[in-house]
Symmetry: C2
Subunit: 205 residues, 2 copies
């Protein structure tokens, strides 16, 4: 039997590229397969051959977003001081989000209605949080942080950065708010809250 030619990799990249631009420019609502195909000089059917459907195309964007995000996280220099390192990772997280807010929306706030990441993509997403977990696990083992399940602390740290960034991106922060300074203070307060020496007994394990 005959073998098909391989998928057109150049067209695939071009579509992903244009899709990213469309979303970055006018939000996820503005990503239409017809506009995308016209921009790329092809037809909507090509998208279905290359990706399967619109959600599958978004899944590819999601994956690429987490690849870049993971690289940024893994590349932040660490000092060994748990609190400082958590602040540093949190700052890298915000930098990533502000660099492409609409991509952040796809990755973290389900901003494209029909889309849910597939299993591979979710696995990749989980992988990017490994540096966070490593820091926390060691701080707990060293007795620097409270003796609670490291996942609990990790989720708490993820939540504060995600919450702050979400509020900032959706415009829910006060007008005269010094975001950068307050962001760092909130991260440091949150991380400090898990310190063992300062909270002996105040948080149940």
């Amino acid at each position: 039997m005959a073998r098909p030619r391989t998928h057109d990799e150049a067209l695939r990249l071009k579509l992903l590229d244009r899709a990213g631009e469309l979303i970055a420019a006018d939000g996820p609502k503005a990503l239409s397969l017809r506009k995308l195909a016209a921009d790329a000089g092809t037809s909507t059917t090509a998208v279905y051959s290359l990706f399967g459907s619109k959600p599958d195309l978004v899944n590819a964007l999601y994956t690429e977003g987490f690849r870049r995000f993971g690289a940024r996280m893994a590349g932040t220099p660490l000092t060994g001081d748990a609190v400082e390192d958590l602040v540093a990772l949190g700052t890298a997280y915000r930098t990533s989000a502000l660099a492409d807010p609409n991509l952040y929306g796809i990755m973290f706030t389900r901003s494209v209605p029909g889309f849910e990441p597939n299993e591979d993509a979710e696995e990749l997403a989980r992988e990017t949080l490994k540096p966070l977990e490593r820091i926390i696990r060691r701080a707990v083992a060293d007795g620097v942080f409270l003796d609670v399940p490291p996942e609990t602390i990790a989720v708490g740290c993820w939540a504060i950065v995600h919450g702050l960034v979400s509020l900032e991106l959706t415009g829910n922060l006060p007008e005269e708010f010094d975001v950068t300074t307050s962001y760092e203070a909130a991260l440091r307060a949150n991380a400090s809250g898990w310190l063992r020496t300062q909270n002996s007994g105040s948080i149940p394990s």
Copy 2:
């Protein structure tokens, strides 16, 4: 000249009610004006007479959501202990969100693409956070919390609850995760991080 009759309030409530049900059942994507009108036994144009557009209808849902949410927040009993009260408010926040996740999405995560709340709705939303600010302002004034701008602390507290709830609702938490317990621990750790007695000098004002 002739005076117009007032808007049909019964139909207005019926449409809002059905819209809430549709969104609660199948998510914001499933809210279609045609389905909504058919359900209510009317036509799509009625929605335009009563609300103006689909985003305006969502704005009404948003407002109603914040009215209920604000009542829940204002109704939580407080003890006077800042940390405990912040945990209590945070728990009420989560309870509210879990009661109607899709409404929460409209209110806090812009889950309906074209929609942005109008000025009145945003003012009402800000109003619901007043109990939070009151607690923090007093704790700072009493020297219980660090001497940083109360808005900074308020945003941090809002961010942790919003972050945790968002992660839970989007299914980003680990499988075997005890949400309720960890949620409370994270809230308590975050609030404790702002205590003055335990963090003297570690956070810049």
